[in-house]
């Protein structure tokens, strides 16, 4: 690939670069990420206000509302924004339509806020309506990404993982809508004679509700949660980390077949786990084992990548990501225990299920996402503020755009908070959950301060002196 520039009458280098760019403009992923951070803070404050939600069984409207705030508002927003940014770059192609992605953001924001609110007040008809709007946004997201993936010059393990994650996301949303349809009370279609389309729709939803009635609602909710948490978030994290961890650690995937095996096991395990959870089948432990096997193979490949790295210390962002990945060990252990068919259905088992969800979503996925945020947001701000000054003036490195100490404080306070929340869940002790949640709020506060520092560079760039005399960060020529 050759890039040529002719100064006489030609565009500025930055303009030339823009013409060749593969990533969307920085404001697109940033708006998703800011919305996600706001949802995270709100969700943690929610846990402080209502610690009793985690100290009791999770089948109630408020914990479902809070879970959707974390899953769709926090994790969904950030992961979707990051996907718009990373997929074109990692797969060396262009986003199919940035305009469609902007529409997606507007729909996402309205639908998630509406869904969480309607879950909180338990208006399932409106949950269905906002959920349908959310599904429309996700449809745009999947369509846009699928078209982008088709443009990729080669098939990679990361590309395959992203494609599979998008498929599972679609399945999770459709199944979630089916659950909502089951919980709705629809007006009779006979009163809708003049609007044939609406009548058919209502009739179809009633039939769907009748079909869903054959499943245990709690099992259906658990099956839906696994589609989203394992199918979308876990597969995406695993697949993208096969690209990003070697990039940040100056290493390479050591055994591509092992990486592919981890994805195959995760997909096969999830498919079986979905049906065995939904049908309360005794085969649950088998598929849990297959899924955990996929994670174990992933862990082995990740260790091999890290052992072969050329960058001795990895920095706070990768450390946070790896801390999240390490939490897969207790999450996997809990998955194996909870899949056991002979497990007594008592209060403690219910609390173990709460712990499994919290360690999975607020532990593994959240820490992995926070780690990646510390890479992505500085890059976006840097790109917006400093890209045009590269080669002409001294510009900050990513690590200089935020406080490393605050980042360390955030990681440790998060882990401490998670530990205390976990203890509170196991003991069904609301004050203990609140104490842990307060530490989590502090941690998220430190994350917000650091992200604010990063974004300050975007608003007010701190460009150094022109590099006319001295080369930057240089050895003797």
């Amino acid at each position: 690939m050759a890039v040529s520039l002719h100064p006489s009458g030609a565009p500025d280098p930055a303009t030339a670069a823009l013409a060749d760019r593969v990533a969307p403009s920085v404001t697109l992923p940033l708006r998703f990420m800011l919305a996600g951070l706001a949802a995270l803070f709100l969700g943690m404050c929610g846990l402080v206000a209502r610690p009793d939600l985690l100290a009791a069984y999770h089948y109630n409207q408020h914990i479902i509302a809070l879970t959707h705030l974390f899953v769709l508002g926090w994790l969904g927003s950030v992961v979707m924004g990051a996907t718009y940014q990373l997929v074109p770059v990692a797969l060396e192609t262009r986003l199919w339509s940035e305009r469609l992605a902007r529409w997606h953001f507007a729909i996402h924001l309205i639908s998630v806020a509406g869904m969480v609110w309607m879950f909180w007040v338990w208006n399932m008809k409106q949950v269905g309506h906002f959920g349908s709007l959310f599904a429309l946004g996700v449809g745009l997201f999947i369509w846009n990404l699928a078209r982008t993936l088709r443009r990729a010059p080669r098939r990679t393990v990361t590309g395959i993982a992203i494609a599979a994650a998008l498929g599972w996301l679609a399945a999770a949303i459709l199944f979630g809508l089916a659950i909502a349809a089951y919980k709705c009370t629809y007006d009779s279609e006979t009163g809708l004679a003049t609007a044939v389309g609406v009548r058919s729709l209502v009739s179809g939803l009633r039939n769907l509700a009748r079909y869903m009635a054959r499943f245990d609602p709690i099992a259906a909710m658990h099956a839906h949660a696994h589609l989203g948490a394992v199918g979308f978030f876990t597969l995406l994290i695993v697949g993208v980390s096969y690209k990003l961890v070697p990039m940040f650690a100056l290493s390479a995937v050591q055994r591509p077949r092992r990486a592919a095996l981890s994805l195959a096991l995760l997909n096969a395990g999830l498919l079986g786990a979905f049906f065995s959870v939904l049908l309360r089948s005794p085969l649950k432990p088998l598929f849990a084992l297959v899924t955990v096997g996929g994670l174990a193979v992933y862990g082995r490949e990740l260790l091999a990548i890290l052992r072969a790295r050329k960058r001795a210390a990895l920095g706070g962002a990768v450390a946070t990501f790896l801390t999240g990945v390490a939490l897969l060990i207790p999450v996997s252990a809990l998955a194996l225990v909870l899949s056991w068919p002979g497990l007594p259905l008592n209060t403690f088992t219910g609390q173990l299920e709460n712990l499994y969800g919290v360690l999975g979503l607020l532990g593994f996925v959240t820490l992995a996402v926070i780690g990646m945020l510390y890479k992505i947001v500085p890059f976006l701000a840097w790109f917006g503020a400093y890209s045009r000054h590269v080669g002409l003036a001294r510009v900050p490195a990513f690590g200089e755009m935020y406080a490393a100490r605050l980042q360390r404080f955030g990681r440790w306070s998060y882990l401490a908070g998670l530990f205390v929340v976990s203890a509170g869940i196991l003991a069904s002790n609301a004050p203990l959950v609140r104490a842990g949640a307060l530490a989590l709020v502090l941690s998220v506060g430190s994350l917000l301060i650091n992200m604010g520092q990063v974004l300050r560079h975007w608003v007010r760039p701190q460009v150094g002196a022109p590099l006319s005399a001295q080369p930057a960060n240089v050895s003797a020529p």
Binding site: M1, A2, V3, S4, L5, H6, P7, S8, P13, A14, A16, A17, L18, D20, R21, V22, A23, L86, V89, A90, L91, E92, K243, P246, M247, F248, L250, K310, R311, A312, A313, L314, G315, F379, W382, F383, Y386, S387, R388, V390, G391, L392, V395, P396, A397, F398, G399, E400, L467, S468, P471, A472, N473, V474, S475, A476, P477
Partner: protein, 106 residues
Amino acid sequence: MTSPALTETAVWNALRRVVDPELDCNIVDLGLVYGVAIDGARVRVTMTLTTPGCPMHESLCAGVQRALLNLDGVEDADVELVWYPPWHPAMMSDAARARIHARFGG
């Protein structure tokens, strides 16, 4: 004819002004620049990145062009991005290794 002000040393020094913000090290010491060719007022740089799909692709290529065009005697700057031979950390200079280890520990 090559401009008297334009020497290979000047070009390499200009390239050292382009810094990878992730590793906080210039692209020459990182071993990303494979070659420089000067033809009159035209400079052609052959370089790579640490990995295909590197997010810094646009910024670094445009930065190289800016740094070169900022030199006296350069009227045209080409950047050829190549993936062979693939970059390897062994291509870093001792100074780069020392800098990265000093910055990130190890």
